[in-house]
């Protein structure tokens, strides 16, 4: 069964980055331009991995994370962000509330993205 990845980021370039980087993997990559759209898609479809941006207009990353956990408490969520300083308090609160997530820092290279994704979805790699 093909594993599905959802990328939630308001920046079209970043969404394209994921699509291009993971093009040659066997995973299905979907993208959502906002938190609201992402939640909607999660409700309609099961995802195995979610890449989430923090700074977004409308619903920000942390709010999206909280909603997501209501829909799917177990899916791995990787927050990919340039800067989380202004969200650190909200993130800590979410963590304390038992919501699992990881943080990765932008910029990531294509190679890093591929390695990371494979690592998450197929277990420890031999890199």
């Amino acid at each position: 069964m093909i594993k599905r990845i959802l990328v939630i980021d308001d920046d079209e370039a970043i969404r394209k980055v994921f699509l291009l980087a993971l093009e040659e993997t066997e995973f299905q990559v979907d993208t959502a331009p906002s938190g609201e759209k992402g939640i909607e898609m999660c409700k309609a479809q099961h995802y195995d991995l979610i890449y989430l941006d923090l700074k977004m207009p409308g619903m920000n990353g942390v709010e999206t994370l909280r909603k997501l956990r209501g829909v799917d408490p177990d899916v791995p969520v990787y927050i990919i962000t340039a800067f989380w300083g202004e969200f650190s308090e909200e993130l800590n609160q979410a963590k304390e509330a038992g919501m699992a997530f990881e943080i990765m820092k932008k910029p990531l290279t294509m190679e890093q993205l591929v390695t990371l994704t494979i690592g998450i979805l197929e277990g420890p790699a031999d890199y």
């Binding site: 920046d11 370039a13 970043i14 394209k16 980055v17 291009l20 980087a21 093009e23 340039a82 800067f83 989380w84 300083g85 650190s88 820092k105 932008k106 910029p107 990531l108 290279t109 294509m110 190679e111 993205l113």
Partner: protein
């Protein structure tokens, strides 16, 4: 014949009046024997005039005179208050009863002598009158003396000042109540007491006992007004400061020489004087120690005095300032402002608002100062001078500039930080897009190389953004995670980054580390930034040195690792040393240094539990020592 005191001693005068000079001469000759002084008058008018200038004991009048005869003259004399009782002897040629013609006969002593007269008879009569006059004078004098004595006693008793009469031998003769109560001695104890026992520093008794010569009249006068401070030795042994003035006198005989001493208690005056002195001292101190310059000048602007701060500011001493005017210290371009303020503020209301103007120092340099000027008025409220308070604002200006600069840098830093973060998104896009293209381009394709170059350039951009973030000191520290790092490897990486400069300036980089060296748990990127900063500083420092060398040394000491980065550069002066870790402190030319490197480095090291210190010797070189805990995977 009547015995009498020699009239020359009493100074008696006789008025003689006759219209014929030969008669006057004869009369004078007769009267010479009396010893009294004779004053001639050739007419009645002359005689009256003479009475205005002399106090006569007797008048001898010739009866037959043209114009005013002797009787008429006598009438005038009787009519005048001053001469009413003047005894008169009439000289008359006719022995007859005609003398009753004189109406004032009953009013006073009058006698008649007929001409030609016998000198001894005239003389006898004159002598009687002179004796009477002498007795009368003595009586009047006695009454006057008694009266005066009464007054003096009253004055003495009521005087607050202590008064004593001292004999020529320096013994106290008479004292007043004030002295008794001040000294604690009784009048009887004081009488006869040597003055030297009652006073310390009293007028010397030798002065008192020296009879004053006629020739030293001026000196006597001087002594009269002389006053000095002396201490009264009271009976209970205390000392009272007194101001003593003495007026020396000498009687007709030396035995009665002495002095009247007036002594005034000056305790309260001394207290006032001390209080005034203290207060003056206080204000003097305030004036001299004031950090603002204070200067006084007259209405023409000529300096009268200036405090230390003003002298330091201007470079002039008071002796030089008093030869200058306020205007001399003012650059011409401030003249209008200065004169305007003088005319529209100082003169109408007595002071100026604070205003800024420049002053010219002695060495010709100029400084900017904030000034306030006040008008000084004399007792009659007339403007008599000015004083000004001057604050050198050059330093203040610099501080202000620095503060503005700092604020600007902070604002700029925040903006740059925000931009750097924003740049990370497109940067990631570009990077991945190029990677994608590269991956899908054949190695042989020329475009492959171009894409590889584009990727390298993108890496450079990422590095720049990264540096900008570190420079702005935002987020980076908090966000970066600790990992085990090999400091030597890190240093080598930094050296590689700086290869261009190292090679261009022909600097020798020496690494000296032990074989067995522990890695430390620290934030790698931050530490790299620290090494980069220190290394850049070292490169700047050795630029002018003949021997260009940078050493990297490392050694373990217990749970700590010490890293030393030394150079053989110009060194840091002690004054600079105090400030090198201050943010925005830089010795580099404008545009070359941000003044942030060392302060950021220090805070990076300290945020990880380490220390950063500096040792330096001018002209020899500088060593920065980083001391870091080795730490473990989960520090703190």
């Amino acid at each position: 014949m009547v015995t009498a005191m020699n009239p020359s001693e009493t100074g008696q005068k006789i008025l003689i009046v006759d219209d014929r000079p030969e008669n006057l001469l004869a009369l004078e000759k007769v009267l010479r024997e009396t010893g009294a002084q004779t004053i001639r008058a050739a007419s009645g008018n002359e005689a009256l005039k003479a009475t205005l200038h002399h106090d006569f004991a007797l008048a001898i009048l010739d009866v037959q005179m043209p114009e005013m005869d002797g009787y008429e003259l006598a009438e005038f004399l009787r009519g005048d208050e001053n001469t009413r009782h003047l005894p008169i002897i009439f000289l008359t040629a006719v022995y007859s009863d005609e003398h009753h013609v004189f109406k004032g006969y009953a009013a006073g002593a009058v006698d008649f002598v007929t001409k030609p007269y016998r000198p001894e008879i005239l003389l006898a009569k004159v002598m009687v009158f002179l004796e009477l006059d002498r007795q009368k004078r003595e009586l009047v004098e006695k009454v006057e003396v008694e009266k005066a004595k009464g007054y003096l006693e009253n004055i003495l008793l009521s005087m607050v000042d202590a008064v004593m009469v001292v004999s020529g031998e320096g013994l106290i003769r008479t004292v007043n109540n004030a002295l008794v109560s001040l000294s604690g001695y009784g009048t009887d104890e004081l009488t006869g007491m040597p003055l030297a026992r009652l006073f310390e520093n009293a007028p010397s008794s030798s002065l008192l006992s020296t009879p004053v010569e006629e020739s030293s009249i001026d000196e006597t006068k001087a002594l009269l007004y002389q006053s000095r401070e002396a201490r009264l030795l009271t009976k209970d042994g205390s000392r009272i400061p007194m101001e003593v003035s003495a007026s020396f006198f000498h009687g007709k005989k030396d035995a009665s020489a002495g002095a009247v001493l007036v002594a005034r208690d000056i305790r309260s005056r001394i207290k006032d004087r001390e209080a005034l002195k203290n207060s003056e001292e206080k204000y003097r101190n305030l004036y001299e120690s004031n950090r603002d310059g204070i200067a006084f000048c007259d209405m023409n602007g000529r300096f009268l005095d200036a405090n230390q701060a003003f002298r330091d500011m201007t470079g002039y001493g008071v002796d030089e300032l008093v030869k200058l005017k306020r205007q001399d210290l003012r650059p011409e371009k401030w003249r209008y402002l200065d004169e305007d303020i003088f005319k529209n503020q100082i003169m109408p209301r007595g002071y100026s608002d604070e205003y800024e103007k420049e002053y010219i120092r002695k060495d010709g340099s100029v400084f900017l100062a904030a000034v306030r000027v006040w008008l000084i008025r004399d007792d009659q409220e007339n403007p008599s001078g000015l004083w000004e308070l001057v604050r050198d604002t050059t330093a203040h200006r610099l501080e202000e500039q620095n503060r503005v600069m700092t604020e600007k840098m902070i604002a700029l830093g925040m903006m740059a930080g925000g931009m750097a973060h924003e740049l990370n998104n497109p940067m990631m896009g570009i990077h991945v897009f190029i990677e994608y293209c590269l991956k899908h381009t054949a190695q042989e394709d020329r475009r492959h190389g171009v894409l590889a170059d584009a990727l390298l350039e993108t890496e450079r951009c990422k590095g720049l953004v990264h540096n900008l973030l570190t420079f702005c000191h935002m987020g980076q520290l908090a966000e970066e995670e600790c990992r085990k790092i090999d400091c030597e490897k890190l240093f080598e990486r930094v050296s590689t980054l700086l290869t261009y400069r190292i090679e261009k300036e022909n600097v020798q980089v020496i690494t000296c580390t032990p074989e067995e060296r522990p890695g430390i748990w620290a934030k790698e990127n931050s530490m790299q930034q620290v090494f980069l900063n220190l290394m850049s500083n070292s490169l700047d420092a050795v630029r002018e040195s003949p021997n260009k060398e940078i050493r990297f040394e490392m050694q373990q000491s217990g749970e700590w690792i010490e890293i030393a980065i030394s150079d053989t550069g110009c060194g840091i002066s002690p004054e600079q040393m105090e400030r090198i870790f201050d943010p925005f402190f830089t010795t580099k030319p404008v545009g070359k240094g941000t003044g942030l490197g060392l302060s950021v480095s220090k805070s990076i090291v300290e945020s990880q539990g380490g220390t950063l210190n500096c040792l330096s010797e001018l002209g020899k070189g500088t060593t920065f020592v980083i001391k870091m805990p080795i730490g473990n995977q989960q520090p703190q």
